[in-house]
Symmetry: C2
């Protein structure tokens, strides 16, 4: 595949088999909706697009996510509602009513409240299957859509008693988009995302909020740790308010548990503070701090690696890259020549320039050979 063949606007080759045959109607053409459309259009599936914003529809069409819906469209086989959680249930109910033969799914990040609202509204739940693709980007809107957004990512499917055909249609959608279907009930899903997504989001905001009034001289001392912890605090407040409100019970449980640990740390800090020095603090005070930190060690060790739901184990080869134009390209060229497949790459920077260390991730069995080859060619492996 040459660079020119790969592109947002350029449909790829027809797949060997695509389970979703369409027509597919997408309601909500933001990042997720437009990415679903883009992924399906590459396979020749007929996709129509609807959104309260005509601009969002036009942008989604322009990136190749489908064509604007019209009143005389064929009846869809599948409707995908890709809207904020606080409007999702109403939209799903309306689509179920308007398209009486269609399967309807949604991609909202909270599932229990959507399901409860639909039940309360008496919607036809034999044709509704909730879902939640665990994918996103820092940028939003249809212009940020990617056909590969869901590739290799878990796609949670919540089947609360729908017909077998309905569940299969949503599963097929996930598979066609390269995602990994994960069956889960709504409560399990909502508690899981409270732990791995909503709690970190809230806490990142709480830490970042402490920086609002911090002196500039303090901020100038910031390092990568602060940047990492607060990065997602740049997220959209309106969207996240809707998510927290929709998943209030589960998020509250997680946050209350964290507050319990926080209070233990506060008590230990108070004990350490009144003492004249670390060697004279009350017995057990330092142990309480160390236990919290050790628990964090244990927890972070359980987080899967960079590559989606699976825990790949790569070996890391760190190479010094000189501060001269083309050095990184030369390094990657040499790696390509060795035939070793580059699985991942990150660069540690010196300030203001690209000189630094390239950390190259490769399969463990290839690491020693790569180190030998690089050293032989004059590169410094750290």
């Amino acid at each position: 595949m040459s660079p020119a063949d790969e592109g947002v606007q350029t449909p790829g080759p027809e797949p060997v088999a695509v389970a979703t045959t369409g027509p597919v109607r997408i309601v909500g053409t933001g990042l997720l909706g437009a990415s679903v459309g883009l992924g399906l259009c590459r396979f020749g599936v007929e996709v129509t697009l609807a959104d309260p914003s005509p601009t969002a529809v036009a942008l989604a069409r322009d990136v190749g996510a489908g064509r604007p819906a019209r009143p005389d469209d064929r009846e869809p086989a599948l409707v995908v509602v890709a809207a904020p959680p606080d409007v999702t249930a109403d939209l799903v109910a309306a689509e179920l009513a308007t398209h009486p033969s269609a399967v309807v799914t949604d991609v909202a990040s909270v599932k229990g409240t959507v399901l409860a609202s639909l039940r309360a509204a008496g919607a036809d739940l034999t044709r509704y299957v909730g879902s939640h693709p665990m994918a996103g980007r820092e940028r939003t809107g249809p212009a940020a859509a990617l056909p590969d957004l869901f590739a290799g990512r878990p796609w949670v499917i919540v089947d609360a008693g729908a017909g077998a055909d309905s569940a299969l249609a949503v599963r097929n959608l996930a598979v066609d988009l390269g995602a990994i279907p994960v069956a889960m009930d709504a409560a399990t899903h909502d508690q899981a995302v409270a732990t791995v997504s909503h709690l970190p989001q809230l806490v990142a905001s709480l830490v970042a909020a402490r920086l609002r009034d911090a002196p500039v001289e303090a901020l100038e001392l910031a390092g990568q740790g602060l940047r990492d912890v607060t990065r997602i605090a740049a997220s959209d407040p309106q969207l996240w308010t809707a998510i927290f409100a929709a998943n209030a019970a589960a998020v509250r449980t997680e946050l209350a548990a964290l507050r319990g640990d926080l209070d233990t740390v506060l008590a230990a800090l108070a004990a350490a503070d009144v003492a004249s020095g670390p060697t004279t603090v009350a017995e057990g005070t330092l142990a309480a701090l160390a236990r919290t930190l050790a628990a964090g060690n244990d927890g972070v060790a359980r987080v899967p690696g960079k590559h989606g739901g699976q825990r790949y184990r790569y070996a890391r080869v760190s190479v010094l890259v000189p501060d001269t134009p083309g050095s990184l390209a030369a390094l990657l060229g040499v790696i390509g020549d060795t035939g070793v497949n580059l699985e991942d790459l990150d660069i540690e920077h010196a300030a203001g320039r690209l000189a630094g260390i390239a950390n190259v991730a490769v399969l463990p069995e290839a690491a020693a050979r790569l180190e030998t080859e690089l050293t032989r060619r004059g590169w410094t492996v750290v």
Copy 2:
């Protein structure tokens, strides 16, 4: 500079002028101590190494950080104590006593308690100047040392009434190692690092601790946000317990403030939880959540960029990179051909392979030209 010229074991050319003339004695040859030695040895400064661990001294010597200290060494001009904060004051006092003509500094990440202990011990504070280089790595120990570890990073210098020559010697050390000296009093420093370093560290551990007993199915849904928030939770519990204990008052202030905001969020979640849906929650409940998130937006916007203390503003050009060997090297080669300087690079991954989007940071004035050149050559700019 060719790759072979740049290396941990290979001394670089003599600098035009180096202010630190030595001998320099380094007490504590972990990551920081060994990196100081490595940086100075490249300039021909005489460096001797001491550490309670003979292995640490031998490793530091092997990476080129200096030679093991001997009883018959010349008197040092400068002593650098690079030890955990709970032993730093005692070591500084001992070095001041043993080397009556030397200037002594330390690199501990807390300054107030060290200074107070030295005052209490009646140490000669005309020859002591505390410092704190804002640099580190995820790996520890002398084997992870880098001569450029401090390049472009702030190096806080706390001069609590030392002689002018003493302060200048420590400032010279920072400048020789490529760091940016920042004068600050101990209390200001300790509050600053509580905000930008100690609080994020603690909170990362608290979030990660929630994962210890989380079901595997929840962890498998984790994305980049969780990985970023919890990355530094992998830090050494013993070292960080000593840091928190030594900076207990300032950390407590920050953590208590965060807990106040957290309680506001908990109250809002409780109000949202009892209501039947987001549209019927008590007035002001959602606003409290949104305010917390907006405060986070404001705070994170104040965090300086990737390149140390200065806020560089680069333009980002995002390019699709096909999943074929050598594609990234080809892209970087093309960028090199255009003459545009690559300031930074990160890659957004699809799962399990390198296909994805390369985000290339360049000077704003070069972005349009780079986009044109890349498009002309068949690359897809997203």
